[in-house]
Subunit: 111 residues, 2 copies
């Protein structure tokens, strides 16, 4: 969990992750990311590896390109953890608006 937070706790990596989230399941080749973010290849590769180690993004090969994509379940787990452990139990978001009482994830295990 600390690893995931640490992975997102960097300007370039947060931008990178957001980009992949927007891009969707299809993902994006490293080169295109480097161009979009205006980063030297070696620096980008470093950050991609960091996010991969943290389990937030996935890598697959397509021809000579390596395609990276956001791991939504991992992000889901992170948000779930924060909601459960760092939000005063009863619910961090005080005005969940229409959504009726956001049940803490803990309750769902037994349910």
């Amino acid at each position: 969990m600390v690893a995931a937070l640490g992975a997102l706790a960097h300007e370039h990596r947060l931008a990178l992750f957001r980009l992949l989230v927007q891009t969707g399941e299809d993902g994006m080749p490293a080169g295109a990311i480097a161009q979009a973010l205006d980063l030297p290849n070696s620096s980008l590769s470093f950050h991609l590896a960091h996010l991969t180690r943290a389990g937030l993004i996935a890598q697959r090969r397509q021809g000579r390109s390596l395609i990276y994509s956001a791991d939504y379940p991992a992000m889901n787990a992170l948000v779930g953890y924060l909601l459960e452990n760092c939000c005063g139990g009863a619910g961090c978001a005080p005005d969940t608006d229409a959504a009726p009482v956001r049940r803490p994830l803990a309750e769902r295990k037994t349910a």
Copy 2:
């Protein structure tokens, strides 16, 4: 936002923040925290300052003690940001179980 993530991206600080979240609005004096977490005062002070700079905790004085407490709205904002920007728009948590379709925070602005 990066600052908030970075503040939580450390074993001791995450534990510290969770402790303060559990403790509630009343908060806890620095000494008690140091004892609970078994950290030297100077180290703890460093981490408290880090979390404070990130806006995740608040400080108030009570006699000679400095009481720290979690800033729930700040945490709320952080989770909101992650939900909005890092969770594929339509909703990161795919199976919100009982909770009927967790609306993206974006929609609530206009509502």
